[in-house]
Symmetry: D2
Subunit: 346 residues, 4 copies
């Protein structure tokens, strides 16, 4: 059994990690840290867990959690990681982090898009981008796993086979994305209030969302050339779920079925990537509550353009589920352990 | 391993049974019957199950499924059971049924509320009302288990301790209930269309809902006198979840905490009944996706009246989850096997 | 033209008043006060009003608004009214207020339920409870109109004909109510966050909601005896709309159609009260966006109990619409001026 | 007063036309035709209209409605128009139609995208594409006005200023669009059932939606060259509202503010087109319930690409509202008569 501590356990990503791990046959949750709720039972904050997981929230005591846990998963508000992660690393712990801090190869790119100085550049060498479908081997050995953003996971896995097989022009990639409101976290700002969100659809952070740079970094590495993308997120009045609609111009004439074959081949060993048959398209309800990502595509032969649709649960494969997948890899456990629940649909 | 067949597998209750059983460590699903989708893979109808459960829908062939399965779970439209269940019983099979046909002790009551002749009165003796918290021992031996309605489950478990302990006047029990839209099944009638349901709240079948008679039957058995109740269902614009708000006049002065103590005591051995502490009230999101029923209560001392709130997932403890709980009991498996998932909350 | 100022114009009730009045043929909005947004155009806060109503939010300057406006409508957070209303009255202004401060005949009742000292008891004599269907004549002359709460409006109008005609027992009246989330105002607390509200249903403030006392006051006046009621509010995942399900025991045998006749007669002169025909029940989508209240009922002859269903838009007849109705009465304008929009349904 | 008949009055578009016209100061509704509900009052089907609009649904009797009405608005299921419109034209009536039948200049394009033979090619010469911002003068005189599709209205108005001013490359225009569920009409098919739609987001008809051809026709006319576009519709779990996110590569360096100036100039005389200031983006809740279209844009200077966001109410400016706008123009009434309601926001 792996002993795991969850730091930032009462946010939406944190509690989803707890929900997954409490039922994980290879893991013990040994501590849950929540500065906002020190001393209160986690089932007091999330009563769905009553009788299921009753652990008390601790304050952040690096000494204590380092003794208890082998691996720490951090789901902290931006800017707090720097207080926590260097000290955990110092204690010899391994960390799966959910901030943007360790996702970048270039400190400059990070600093430009996050508009802040990087506080721990010396730790970047220890970090691996936690997308198992690309970095599985490195994740297995990593000291720090930087769990990817939800939008990047959904975008990169949707585009990767096209770039890896040199099938598309690289100067006109457009990712039009939409997410459920849990993507904003347990956030009490006005725009996430029920009456402001429901019966509404909008784009936000057009041309400026930080995840753009994360997507570009990984696509560029796959393509072995610099890739820039348009990335436009939208907010959907639903809790869980994310869909990316990706547009790219084909270099060569390819049919929908030819491309699907390439996708199926590309992901043939990937448990959590489901390539849909021709004529089928992903829907968020098919993946909500699961760690799957569903990918479908259509070639618009009139325009010689491919439209790829990729869907995942932003709290699942887009965050907590992927963290557990990374954890399994890091610990030599079966990669899908504790993660086989299908989406709820209903 | 118990071999189970699901008849009516592509309705909302049927597919929830499939979702639960495909992950149940003590059960094999050996056949899924769906007259509407014969020959199609179930993951074709419910793509959340792609790669997870790919069995093909069969037509209803009593001979064949009787050979394959030990126990059959039927989730059929009203009126179809009579074609199916007697023949299964004849074959020596045990059945968990979701219709109203086997829930009644009195053929007359059934015929009055269902406004139809009972087609299989001779089988009633084989049937047990499948509410484990009351009939656990009989369920263990039963040939036919009549899985209770969702509203009755939520109402009866909410009221039972009051009647069992002779705490309330029996002539003024009011059950004001609300359900998510999955309660109507995979129903394409206009009132269940998205634009007709969303941003709407309404009562329906006021003073005439069939579940009234089911609630009254069971409460009368507990009280050992005839109990009549007002039961008013409402439709909530959400998928899963049910809440009953129950009003009853207390015979004696009791405080909230005294009553909660009685409830906790009454249900102290019940895994799936969670009595909330004073000051806490159930919410459907705490139980949605689980087999739990949460019960809270408040005594209004001004009026010497108790208000009990009970919440469950109408597809979980209100239908499929309870069916699996019954199945476990019938097969001598741990009662919570395959049913320990907490509610999703998000 | 009546010159009206709206104080607290950027809350949900305030902005609904603005939306109604900007299109009212007998009214000029002369000032909008919002302490949070002084100097910003109201269409900047609510962009639906761009090009429609562009007035700038002012700070609260009693001197200035008293010169500009004949009547002031106040939709202020609890506790702020006392700074504002006495000074407006001193200036000779008439006020329509949305707080609880002027709704009570008894300072004691107010102080008990609001758990605070009443700050302006000397003004109570000037105040009229702003329910036109009961107090039309007094509203016409009133200095202060205390606009009723949304739940009381929906409950009182639903029950009034029963009490006025001495048809029910007065010791077992139960009001089970449900409201959309706008009822909580423009409120950024966690329970009103999208992900906490959507796909959820819950009761709140069971046996303790302040509106109980307001309902009881008015019902007692109608019945000419002290009436106590059970009142249980619930939160529905929708924006606008309120439904009350009211239970009362009949003193005499009456059929549904007999009672409906009494209701139709009772409200025969009321433009905004629609009594539904037998067999029809109100739904919130039929009234959302309008000033109508729809009332239907069913007699449960088994129990000799009537179940009354009343539905309104909590922002319409439950707040802003009723304020405009009161305003029309106060100014001698046709009572439905500016208020004839039907519900949206869609 | 103009006498208007609405044919197909009980679908979602039809009833929205009724809702708008019953309050229109220059229009009498003289007949409402609904084959499904002949003889029933329209307020029986849509109880929001009780006491507001009580007219009885007629069957389709061309003779009768031609005597009663000057102008007919048809909101019929695809394929029914051909039985109706030629006969109305023969009777000398003017028609505003909501089908695709009269939107095309080329019979071939229509037949290819609709995969059917055009039944009334001889009437095409009488038809004008009912987008007032482009064809106002012709609409004023037209015998047949073909009210544009909702997606085309939202897309064309969003892109027009770019093409009219020769600002973008014409080979890479992408329209990523999303609509509320009323866009599917009063449709009882399974995919529009509440439980299938809510908490879900999906694309549909990728690269094949008929509106593509309508968008292309109009953009080509503006650009004076053949324009092909990628158009991808998505379904949002909300009732009303549509957002288009439009991507185009700029020919020349332009800033966001420069482009906004061009847009404001282009639409400076258009009452219903609101160009948002820099930094603001449209949201569907700002236009839902109104006839406005809100347009905002952002230039992504890194990519020299503009992202235009346009939002409207698919039942408003996308259908019924625009029909009334056309009607006003056809009858010489003020173009915004009966259409000045702002969006509801809440």
């Amino acid at each position: 059994m792996v002993n795991v501590g969850v730091i930032g356990a009462t946010g939406y990503v944190g509690i989803e990690i707890v929900r997954l791990l409490q039922n994980h046959p290879g893991v013990n949750i040994v501590s849950v840290v929540s500065q906002s709720f020190v001393g209160r039972k986690i089932s007091d904050i999330y009563p769905n867990l009553k009788n299921v997981f009753e652990m008390e929230c601790q304050e952040l005591d690096i000494e204590k959690i380092s003794q208890e846990a082998d691996i720490l998963i951090t789901a902290l508000p931006h800017g707090v990681s720097k207080e926590v992660i260097p000290r955990l690393i110092e204690k010899g712990k391994r960390v799966i982090d959910h901030s943007g801090d360790f996702r970048y190869r270039s400190v400059e790119v990070y600093e430009k898009w996050y508009n802040t100085k990087h506080e721990m550049p010396e730790l970047l060498d220890l970090a691996v981008y936690g997308l198992p479908e690309i970095y599985r081997d490195k994740i297995a050995e990593a000291r720090i796993v930087a769990n990817p953003g939800c939008y990047p996971t959904c975008s990169i896995l949707g585009i990767a086979p096209l770039l890896a097989n040199n099938l598309i022009e690289t100067n006109n990639i457009i990712v039009d994305a939409a997410s459920g409101v849990t993507g904003a976290g347990r956030n009490t700002e006005l725009p996430y209030q029920f009456c402001e969100c429901t019966e509404n659809f909008k784009a936000y952070k057009v041309a400026t969302h930080r995840h753009t740079s994360e997507i570009e970094q990984e696509l560029s590495l796959i393509a072995k050339e610099e890739i820039l993308v348009s990335f436009t997120p939208h907010l959907v009045p639903m809790k869980r779920g994310m869909l990316c609609t990706i547009y790219a111009n084909l270099k060569y004439r390819k049919s929908t079925s030819e491309l699907l074959k390439i996708y199926k081949d590309h992901y043939k060993s990937e448990f959590f990537v489901r390539i849909l048959d021709e004529g089928k398209l992903p829907e968020t309800k098919h993946v909500a509550g699961s760690n799957y990502i569903d990918i479908g595509l259509v070639v618009d032969e009139r325009l010689n353009r491919v439209i790829v649709l990729s869907a995942l649960d932003n709290l699942g494969k887009g965050a907590a589920g992927q963290a557990v997948q990374d954890l399994n890899i890091m610990c030599g456990l079966p990669e899908n352990m504790g993660l086989t629940a299908p989406g709820l649909y209903l």
